[in-house]
Symmetry: C2
Subunit: 214 residues, 2 copies
């Protein structure tokens, strides 16, 4: 199976498939038709078949999809079957919220939390002690880190990102409301909360008008 040439729109939908299938699994469901999946996900059945055909199908005519198989295969495509490591830079509320979130279900273990605030030093979140950021170099010398979550204030975000890049980090999960300036060699996935709220605001303000078409 090849991941080549798959549109990024499909890629963006995979995590949603994964989450839905995870819920079905939790409910003990063994198989599901593309029609049922389509009703749950509010996506057309043909869209689902088309999306999953990118990865070789998984479905059997008249049987539907095997929930666990499909869940696990999509997990593999997303790279969730391999244990990956994450550090969190910025141990404020948002950083601590991330540290408390159980990402181990999708293969990510938080192995370090860093901050500049000495009052946070040694405080543990989910069993992980907050370390001062000047220990980052040492830490990265002895620990393989796949992803760094960036939850520092906006004004520090670019400098910290550059430092992470210099230290060899190749994937940054950025929560600062700013576009980072890193080389193309470093993947950045942004979570721009204000933009999400603006989208909600737009839809809320326009709900009495015609709905935007897609």
């Amino acid at each position: 199976m090849s991941e080549r040439g798959i549109s990024s729109a499909v890629i963006r939908r995979l995590p949603r498939y994964y989450r839905y299938l995870g819920e079905l699994l939790e409910n003990g469901e063994v198989r599901i038709s593309s029609r049922e999946l389509s009703i749950r996900m509010k996506v057309t059945a043909s869209q689902i078949r088309q999306d999953l055909n990118n990865f070789g199908g998984f479905g059997q005519q008249g049987y539907g999809y095997n929930v666990r198989y499909l869940h696990d295969e999509i997990g593999k495509i997303l790279g969730l079957d391999v244990q990956q490591t994450m550090i969190i830079i910025g141990a404020g509320n948002l950083g601590q919220a991330l540290a408390n979130y159980d990402f181990s279900k999708i293969g990510f273990n938080v192995i370090g939390i860093f901050d500049v605030n000495p009052r946070l030093e040694g405080l543990a979140v989910r069993g992980i002690e907050i370390q001062m950021i000047d220990t980052l170099e040492d830490f990265l010398r002895t620990n393989k880190v796949d992803v760094a979550a960036l939850t520092v204030p906006k004004k520090n975000a670019r400098a910290v990102a550059t430092r992470l890049e210099d230290l060899g980090i190749k994937a940054i999960w950025n929560f600062a409301p700013i576009d980072l300036k890193v080389s193309d060699d470093v993947l950045v996935q942004n979570v721009h909360l204000a933009e999400s709220l603006m989208n909600l605001s737009f839809n809320y303000r326009n709900r009495r008008k015609d709905k935007p078409s897609d």
Copy 2:
């Protein structure tokens, strides 16, 4: 100017335009060409012209865009020129992080924070006292609330969403990793953190392979 028939892809890009223009404003920039804006935003200049033409243009040939005018007009389209109110349900780390975030720049004021944990009662975040959730009915009777941010644990999210709907809330900013079951009358904007991390994971795992095309 009409917002009718604008594709949701354009709508999704507007907050990003707004953020970039805000940065330009902060840097004291008065005008910008679609070419410069395109380089900064990594979107083609023709895409930018096309997007902004949906709203009547704003650009003048040979002059470019007036930064403040464009910023403010997009802000109006997004509904950011009107003061709106938000409450936060769930005063854990994530809820407190949202309460600490300054959304007033985009017109949103947090006017209430609610939780079920009595140990949090009366604690103030950014000057707003955390209240027990059983006061929500009273609160909503005397306060107009535009948006409720939902930062409760997954297992409680659907029940709280139903309660919010029953109390007349029409817009929910949902951070719980689950799809809420509310009527079409209630807008839901999801922030699914795990899905964002899965997208990063996919791209990270596939970076040595061919890049996904769009």
